[in-house]
C-alpha cells in the first residue's frame, strides 16, 4: 500500500471537501429546536444553505450576522447581537449555535464573551447557546461536524445519575441511515440517546401547516443526561480525540467509550450488534439474524461480479472507511481511497486493512479530484463510490459513480439512501454490483468485438471492402 499524505501543489483543483462551519450546521440540525447563526459575511450562510438544501430537498434556515465592512473593521458584536435578536424572534429556538467563519476568526471575535454578555443583558440566561470556533481555513466540514457535536455535548450535558441508556453518536450519514440504526436499537431493546438526530429535521414528511422549525432532533433533556449513560458508542473510528464527543464524555463524565465503524458491511454491523448485545445482555432477535442471513445470501449471489470491481472511494473519512471495508469483504479492490480533509485516523486504519487487497492501493488525504482522477486512471479503477463530486470521474474518465454520502446534488433522494445495518448494506451492495453490471453490459459486445473480430477476417488487400465489412477500427475509443 502506498501512502500519500499531502500533495505539494499550491492549488486545490476541484474540491473534495467543504469548510468547517458547513459540517457544524449539519450537527446543529440534529438537535431539537436549534437555530444556527454564522458569524461572518452573508455569503457563507447562503452558500452553505444552498449546498445543504440541494442535497436534502428541505428548507435550510441558517442565520447570518451579515458582517459588512464596518463590522469587519470595528468588530462585529453589534451585528451578532442584532442577528441573535432577529433569529430568536423569528424561530423561537430552544438552543442557539453560534459558528464562526474565516472572517470572524481572522478579526479575532470573542464569541464566548459576546454570547455571555448578550444573554445576560437580554435576560435570556435560560437559553442555551453553544459557540463553536469553525474557521473555514482551519479544517474540513468533517472536523467541523464532530467539533460541533463535542461542543454541544460540552455545553448541554449535565451531571446526572447513572442510567441504563447508551449514547449513540453518529457521523454525517443519511436520515434513512439514522432511522435504520434506531430500528436496530429498537429490535435489540436498547434504551438510547442518539446525537445528532437529523433523521426527521432533514427529511421531513409533508405536513400542514408548514413549520419554520421542524419537529424532531435529539431532545435537550436527553442530551443533558448523556453524562449518566452506561456507555457511548461512537461511530467515529477515524475521529481525533481533540474533537471526539465520545472521548469528552469519557474523560469528563467517566462514560466508557466504544468507538466503532459505521455499521456498513457484515463485519462492521456484527461489531455494532455484538456490542449492543454485550452492553445490554439482550439477545439478538431472530428477525435480525434473518436480515444478516439475507445479506450473506446477497454477498454470495454477487461475489463473482464484484470480483472484477476496482473501486475509488472518497468522501468523509468515517464513511470512506466503512465503505472500503465493505468493498474488501466482497472482493472489490479499493484501489483508491480519498478524503479532502486531513482524514483523522483514516490513513492509519486503512493501513491495517488494505495490504490483503493490493499492495499498490492509494490512500489520499488532503486531496482534490484532480489527484483522485489521476490515481484512478493509473490504478484502472472501474467504479467510484462517493458524493456527487464524483460525476467528474464519470465525465472525464468514464468511471461510473455509485452515489453515496454528502452532498448528492445531481440526483434526488440523497436523504433516503439506505446503506447501514445488514439490510442497508445489502441495498448498498446491490447498487454497487448493479452499477458494475450495467457498465459491463453497456460495453462488452463492442469490447469483445474489437478485441477478437479482426483476428477472424482476411488481411487487408484480400477481399477488403466486402459488403458486410464493419467500419469500426480496432482500438476505437471505448465508451
Amino acid at each position: 500500500m502506498r501512502m500519500e499524505q499531502t500533495h505539494c501543489l499550491s492549488v486545490n483543483e476541484n474540491q473534495c471537501s467543504m469548510c468547517m462551519p458547513m459540517g457544524a450546521i449539519l450537527a446543529f440540525k440534529g438537535v431539537e429546536g436549534s437555530m444556527a447563526i454564522i458569524h461572518g459575511s452573508q455569503g457563507c450562510s447562503t452558500y452553505m444553505r444552498r449546498h445543504i438544501a440541494e442535497h436534502f430537498n428541505e428548507p435550510i434556515d441558517v442565520a447570518s450576522s451579515s458582517l459588512n465592512e464596518k463590522g469587519t473593521i470595528y468588530g462585529g458584536e453589534a451585528n451578532l447581537r442584532k442577528g441573535l435578536d432577529n433569529a430568536i424572534k423569528l424561530y423561537n429556538p430552544k438552543v442557539v449555535g453560534i459558528l464562526t467563519t474565516c472572517l470572524a476568526e481572522t478579526i479575532g471575535e470573542d464569541i464566548d464573551r459576546m454570547a455571555a454578555d448578550y444573554l445576560e443583558e437580554k435576560g435570556l440566561v435560560d437559553l442555551p447557546v453553544v459557540t463553536v470556533s469553525t474557521p473555514g481555513y482551519g479544517n474540513s466540514h468533517f472536523e467541523g461536524y464532530f467539533l460541533a457535536v463535542k461542543r454541544i455535548v460540552a455545553e448541554l450535558v449535565r451531571q446526572s445519575v447513572r442510567h441504563k441508556g447508551i449514547n449513540i453518536i453518529v457521523p454525517n450519514i443519511s436520515p434513512a441511515d439514522i432511522r435504520e440504526i434506531k430500528r436496530i436499537l429498537k429490535m435489540m431493546r436498547v434504551s438510547y440517546i442518539l446525537l445528532p438526530d437529523f433523521s426527521d429535521t432533514l427529511d421531513r414528511a409533508l405536513e400542514r401547516p408548514y413549520r419554520k422549525m421542524p419537529a424532531g432532533g435529539t431532545k435537550l433533556a436527553d442530551i443533558a443526561g448523556m453524562g449518566g449513560a452506561q456507555a457511548t458508542i461512537q461511530m467515529g473510528v477515524t475521529v481525533d480525540e481533540a474533537i471526539s464527543p465520545g472521548h469528552y464524555l469519557e474523560s469528563v463524565f467517566g462514560v466508557p467509550l466504544y468507538n466503532v465503524p459505521v455499521p456498513i458491511g457484515v463485519q462492521n454491523t456484527d461489531l455494532f450488534v455484538s456490542l449492543l448485545k454485550k452492553l445490554t445482555g439482550n439477545p439478538v432477535p431472530g428477525s435480525l439474524e434473518q436480515e444478516r442471513g439475507r445479506l450473506l445470501d446477497c454477498m454470495v449471489d454477487s461475489h463473482k461480479y464484484n470480483a472484477y470491481g476496482k473501486s475509488v472511494v472518497f468522501g468523509d473519512p468515517e464513511n470512506v472507511y466503512a465503505v472500503a471495508c465493505t468493498c474488501l469483504e466482497n472482493g472489490i479492490s479499493p484501489v483508491v481511497t480519498a478524503t479532502g480533509g486531513k482524514g483523522g485516523k483514516l490513513a492509519d486504519l486503512l493501513k491495517t486493512r488494505l495490504p490483503d487487497a493490493r499492495p499498490s492501493a492509494q490512500v489520499l488525504c488532503e486531496t482534490d479530484f484532480s489527484r483522485i482522477r489521476e490515481k484512478s486512471r493509473e490504478m484502472e479503477a472501474n467504479i467510484a463510490i462517493g458524493h456527487s463530486g464524483g460525476r467528474y470521474l464519470t465525465e472525464r474518465e468514464g468511471i461510473p459513480l455509485v452515489r453515496y454520502g454528502f452532498p448528492i446534488h445531481d440526483r434526488v433522494g440523497g436523504q433516503r439512501l439506505l446503506s447501514v445495518g445488514y439490510t442497508g448494506t445489502a441495498m448498498l451492495l446491490d447498487r454497487i454490483t448493479n452499477t458494475l453490471l450495467e457498465n459491463k453490459y453497456r460495453n462488452y459486445r463492442r469490447n469483445i468485438y474489437q478485441q477478437f473480430y479482426y483476428g477472424t477476417i482476411k488481411p487487408a488487400g484480400k477481399g477488403r471492402g466486402e459488403k458486410n465489412e464493419l467500419r469500426l477500427q480496432p482500438g476505437a475509443k471505448r465508451e
Partner: protein, 470 residues
C-alpha cells in the same frame, strides 16, 4: 383581493423594504446591506463576481481563499461552451491557518505558476475572498508580476465577500472585464456592423439561440458577456457598434462604461417571452436601420410566432387565473417574468429580488396590479407569509427557495443558473409555459392538499365486517 398583513411583519425593521402596491408609490429601500439574523437569501460580493465571470470558457478561475468558497461554486452553473471547458474546473489556493498568519501572496504566485504550466491559459482571473480582504494580500501586485512573467492576462477580481452585497460583486466583475477588453491602441479600433450581447450567460445555450436570430437578420454577434466567451473574443469587444443588455442588474455598469470609453451606445432588451423577444429584435433592427435587415427581422418573427404562438396560447387557456409569486436575483429577471406570466394568463401577486435597483422597482411598480406585494432582500419567513396570504399557486426562485415552495404545497419554477433548458427566445417561451404547466397542474397536488383524509378512504361505507381488498 386578499388582505395583506403588512402591519405584522416577521421583523419590523424590514418595513421599508416591503409594500403592497396602492395608489401612492412608496420608495422602496433596496441595494443596502442585509439585516443580520433574518436569514436573507442573498449571497456575497464574491458570489456576484463569480456568477458574471465564470462563463468565460478558457480562463483559469482561481479563488484566492479558503476551500469553501471554491467548493460551493464548483461547476454549479449550466453555462455552455463551444470551445474550452476549463471554466468548469474550480481552482483554489486553499488558504490555511499558516497562510492567514503569514500572508498568502507567495502561495498565490506559486499557484498561478503551476496552473500556467499545467493548462497554458491566456487568461487567469484571481478572485479575492473575505480573509484576503482582511490579511491584506496585494492581489494587484501578485497578478501584475505573474502577468509579466508568463506574458498572459492575470486579472485580480476585487470580490472580498463582506465589502458590500452581491451587486458589488457584479461591479467587481465588470471592472475586471473592462481591464481585459482594453485595446492596446484605442485609436486603431475599427467599428463593425456587429453588437455585443451583455448579460447572458449561455445557460442551456441561450446565447446561441439569440446569435442564430441575429445571423438571420444579417447582424453579427461580436461577443456575449459572458456566455461562451473567451479571452480572445472578449478582447474584440470595443469593435462593436452596439451593446444590447439583457441582465441589466449585472451589466448596466459595464454598458455605461463602454459607452463612455468606447462610444458604444447600449439598449436594454429582453429575450424572455414571445412579445419581448419580438419587440427586442425589432429594436435592434431599427438601430441598424437597413430595409433588408428590417424585412428579414419581420420574416423571422412571423415564422417563429406562427410556430410557437398557438402553443403558448394553448397553455394560457389551461393556466388562466393562476397566481404567481416571484423571488429572483435581479430586477431584470423579475420584470421579464411579470410580463411573461401575463402572456400565459397568470397574475403576479408577489414580486421581489435580491439585488434590484430603484429604477427597476419603479418599472415593477408600473407593471403589477394593485395589491401585489413588492419586496427587496426577502427571507424565508416573509416568503412564507406572503405566498400564503396572497394565495399564490407557484413560486419562482432558486435552489434555496424550491424546498420551501414544495413544503408550502405550491408549484415551483427554477429560474436559476443551474437549469438545463433554455428559457430565452421564442422556443424558450414555450419551454417556460410548459414548465409552468408541468408544475402547476401536476397530479401530485391532489394528494398533498388534505393529508389528514388519507386513511378515511372508506369513510361513509357501512361497517359490515367483511374485509375486501382495495
Amino acid at each position: 383581493m386578499e388582505a395583506v398583513n403588512l402591519l405584522e411583519l416577521p421583523v419590523e425593521e424590514r418595513k421599508e423594504s416591503i409594500y403592497a402596491k396602492g395608489k401612492q408609490k412608496p420608495n422602496l429601500k433596496c441595494d443596502t446591506d442585509s439585516i443580520a439574523g433574518v436569514v436573507s437569501q442573498r449571497a456575497c460580493v464574491y458570489c456576484g463576481a463569480r456568477v458574471v465571470l465564470n462563463p468565460v470558457t478558457d480562463a483559469v478561475h482561481l479563488v484566492h481563499g479558503p476551500i469553501g468558497c471554491a467548493s460551493y461554486t464548483w461547476d454549479i452553473r449550466g453555462a455552455l461552451s463551444s470551445g474550452s471547458d476549463l471554466y468548469r474546473f474550480s481552482f483554489s489556493t486553499d488558504l490555511k491557518e499558516h497562510d492567514v498568519i503569514f500572508g498568502g501572496e507567495k502561495k498565490l504566485a506559486l499557484a498561478i505558476d503551476e496552473l500556467v504550466i499545467k493548462y497554458h491559459p491566456k487568461l487567469v482571473f484571481v478572485y479575492s475572498t473575505c480573509i484576503v480582504g482582511v490579511i491584506g494580500d496585494d492581489l494587484e501586485m501578485v497578478c501584475r508580476v505573474a502577468a509579466r512573467k508568463h506574458k498572459i492576462e492575470v486579472i485580480p477580481v476585487q470580490s472580498t465577500g463582506f465589502a458590500g452585497n452581491k451587486s458589488a460583486g457584479y461591479r467587481a466583475a465588470c471592472d475586471a472585464l473592462l481591464r481585459l477588453i482594453e485595446p492596446k491602441n484605442k485609436k486603431e479600433v475599427k467599428k463593425s456592423k456587429s453588437l455585443n450581447y451583455l448579460g447572458d450567460y449561455n445557460l442551456a445555450g441561450e446565447v446561441w439561440i439569440i446569435k442564430s436570430y441575429l445571423r438571420e437578420m444579417d447582424i453579427d454577434m461580436n461577443v456575449a458577456f459572458t456566455g461562451d466567451s473567451s479571452c480572445e473574443t472578449l478582447k474584440t469587444a470595443a469593435m462593436a457598434s452596439l451593446n444590447i443588455v439583457q441582465c441589466s442588474g449585472s451589466m448596466f455598469y459595464l454598458a455605461g462604461k463602454m459607452e463612455q470609453i468606447y462610444g458604444i451606445p447600449y439598449m436594454n432588451i429582453s429575450f424572455l417571452g414571445l412579445e419581448d423577444t419580438a419587440e427586442s429584435l425589432r429594436k435592434i433592427a431599427r438601430f441598424f436601420d437597413e430595409p433588408e435587415t428590417m424585412g428579414k427581422t419581420e420574416k423571422l418573427i412571423e415564422r417563429e410566432i406562427n410556430a410557437y404562438g398557438d402553443i403558448v396560447r394553448g397553455y394560457r387557456e389551461k393556466l388562466r387565473g393562476k397566481k404567481a409569486a416571484v423571488y429572483v436575483g435581479g430586477g431584470f429577471k423579475a420584470i421579464s417574468l411579470i410580463k411573461q406570466f401575463r402572456e400565459i394568463g397568470i397574475d403576479v401577486v408577489m414580486v421581489g429580488t435580491q439585488t434590484g435597483r430603484q429604477e427597476e422597482y419603479d418599472t415593477i411598480n408600473d407593471l403589477v396590479d394593485e395589491g401585489t406585494v413588492v419586496l427587496d432582500d426577502a427571507n424565508p419567513a416573509e416568503l412564507e407569509q406572503f405566498v400564503l396570504e396572497k394565495g399564490a399557486h407557484l413560486l419562482v426562485g432558486g435552489v434555496k427557495e424550491r424546498p420551501l415552495a414544495y413544503k408550502l404545497g405550491i408549484a415551483f419554477i427554477d429560474h436559476n443558473h443551474d437549469r438545463k433548458h433554455p428559457l430565452s427566445g421564442f422556443m424558450g417561451a414555450v419551454n417556460f409555459a410548459e414548465e409552468v404547466y408541468a408544475t402547476v397542474c401536476s397530479p401530485v397536488w391532489r394528494f398533498t392538499q388534505v393529508p389528514a383524509a388519507a386513511h378515511d378512504c372508506f369513510a361513509g361505507e357501512a361497517d359490515n365486517n367483511e374485509t375486501t381488498t382495495a
